[in-house]
């Protein structure tokens, strides 16, 4: 049996300094502070990002060399998708696309080209979907570089992502063979409410509510807006999880569908039926080590891809994520993402070399 490479779908490369992307930003923003990445309203009481060590509190992926040196211990897979953060919603309309473009150039120059990493990493191209024209232009701009294999957009949009104004962005992504990934990303202070009912008080509330509720809002919007019907090739991955709650949620969409489809006749099947062709979720520690026996149904396991989210504090290792799975399911979780992502991701994954003995067991 041939061995497929194991792939970590989410690793966050960290800028060594907050303003690392400055050199890639146009001069018109010289002198204007750029918000820091990775800062939502709610910090946990432990370091949110795994530090390099006791003596160095910078996040553990603060340089390509650090990531390469600690790869076997911290990542462990044959390949990884580097998903840089961009501060989420940025208020200044031109700055959002500019930060995304600068981040892409930073990723390409510092990480994707790095001799210690380039044979095992690929990148997520960051776009700001709030400016659809700029996002489409950025996708066209980077499309010639096969090392960009997915698209990443913030978990919070100014509107849910099924809104029609985002359609050209998803259309272009699908056309170019990019899977759209949605990742928790903030830092500018104009994030949406973390819950539908208002601000919560503590990290534990924020962390257990925001990621999946926001994912479900986008999912409902994609279905309700007919996006999956309009763009049959669109594939979406929620990098902050939600497989554990998606079926109860979708059940609530399935139940009234036959009665309310009159308003949305482009929905031509039960909403749940869109999942298998269009949607995946990254594993999460909340769904974590007991996956799938305790928290995921077998159907939900089929909608799951592996991504560590390293160096986030609750990053999950391949061993933890596959614990309790039978051999086929574990292999599919750690090596099967390309089957869903397809397109550019699959072409990149096909070139990766698998190292026998790592970590599927």
């Amino acid at each position: 049996m041939s061995i497929r490479p194991t792939i970590d779908c989410v690793v966050h490369p960290w800028p060594g300094a907050s303003e690392d992307i400055r050199e890639f930003l146009p001069a018109r923003w010289d002198g204007q502070p750029i918000p820091r990445i990775g800062r939502y309203f709610y910090p946990p009481s432990i370091p949110e990002w795994t530090p390099i060590g006791d003596d160095d509190t910078r996040p553990a992926t603060s340089s390509p060399e650090l990531l390469a040196e600690s790869w076997d211990a911290s990542i462990g897979t044959d390949g990884a998708i580097l998903v840089p953060l961009t501060r989420g919603l940025i208020p200044e309309p031109d700055l959002g696309p500019a930060v995304c473009r600068a981040t892409n150039e930073w990723l390409r120059a510092k990480w994707l080209d790095h001799p210690a990493l380039r044979d095992r990493v690929a990148g997520a191209v960051r776009i700001d979907p709030e400016d659809a024209a700029a996002a489409v232009a950025e996708l066209d701009r980077v499309a010639g570089d096969p090392r960009f294999v997915t698209v990443a957009v913030p978990l919070q949009g100014r509107e849910p992502y099924g809104s029609r104004r985002y359609l050209p962005v998803w259309q272009k992504a699908a056309e170019l063979g990019f899977t759209v990934t949605i990742v928790a990303d903030g830092g500018c202070g104009i994030n949406q409410f973390p819950t539908m009912a208002g601000y919560c008080d503590h990290y534990v509330e924020y962390n257990s509510l925001l990621p999946w509720t926001a994912a479900m809002v986008h999912l409902a919007s994609f279905v309700g807006g007919g996006v999956f019907e309009s763009i049959p090739g669109l594939r979406v991955v929620f990098l902050d999880g939600g497989a554990d709650v998606v079926f109860p949620f979708m059940w609530r969409m399935d139940k009234p569908w036959r009665g309310v489809r009159y308003q949305v006749p482009w929905i031509e099947k039960h909403p749940t039926e869109y999942l298998v062709d269009h949607v995946r979720f990254c594993v999460q520690r909340a769904e974590g080590a007991a996956l799938p026996a305790a928290s995921l149904t077998s159907l939900a396991t089929e909608l799951t891809v592996y991504g560590s989210r390293f160096p986030h504090w609750d990053a999950i290792t391949p061993e933890e994520a596959s614990a309790g799975l039978d051999a086929d399911a574990a292999e599919n979780l750690l090596s099967g993402a390309a089957d869903f992502y397809g397109g550019r991701f699959a072409r990149w994954a096909a070139e990766l070399s698998a190292r026998p003995g790592l970590p599927v067991r």
Partner: protein
């Protein structure tokens, strides 16, 4: 002598055609519970008054058209007068067949109707070894 093969066919008498309001719906007590008779000129559609979804009195719902996509978000209103909408959860069924317009198809039980000597009959096809139908939910 053994019984003839195939279902046994009965005609259930629903009364004079003239008693049915043209364009309206008339409920009658049918052989297996309440039946809605929808007269449209010389045609009568007969549907069991029981929604296959949750057992609602489906025939009490409005008869309307429906909306379909002409591709993407372009919507057309079609089939006016052909769609029966359940009063409880608004499922849509074809008046003429009882079939849901959504997949997978769920069907309101329908009866073939014959009109003889200006009287309306439901055609009832009984299996020889027919189990009793529980009509308590009607």
């Amino acid at each position: 002598m053994s019984a003839p093969a195939g279902p046994r066919v009965e005609h259930f008498d629903c009364g004079p055609l003239a008693d049915l309001e043209d364009g309206g719906m008339t409920l009658v007590d049918g052989p297996d519970g309440s039946v809605g008779l929808f007269r449209r000129g010389d045609t009568v559609y007969a549907l069991r008054n029981w929604c296959p979804h949750n057992g609602a009195p489906v025939c009490l719902g409005p008869v309307t058209g429906t909306n379909v996509t002409k591709g993407g978000h372009e919507v057309e209103h079609v089939r006016d007068g052909e769609i029966l909408r359940c009063p409880w959860h608004k499922w849509e069924f074809e008046l003429a067949t009882g079939m849901s317009i959504t997949q997978p198809v769920r069907k309101v039980h329908s009866y073939r109707v014959v009109i003889e000597n200006d009287r309306v009959y439901l055609v009832i096809r009984r299996l020889r070894k027919r189990k009793n139908v529980d009509t308590t939910h009607d």
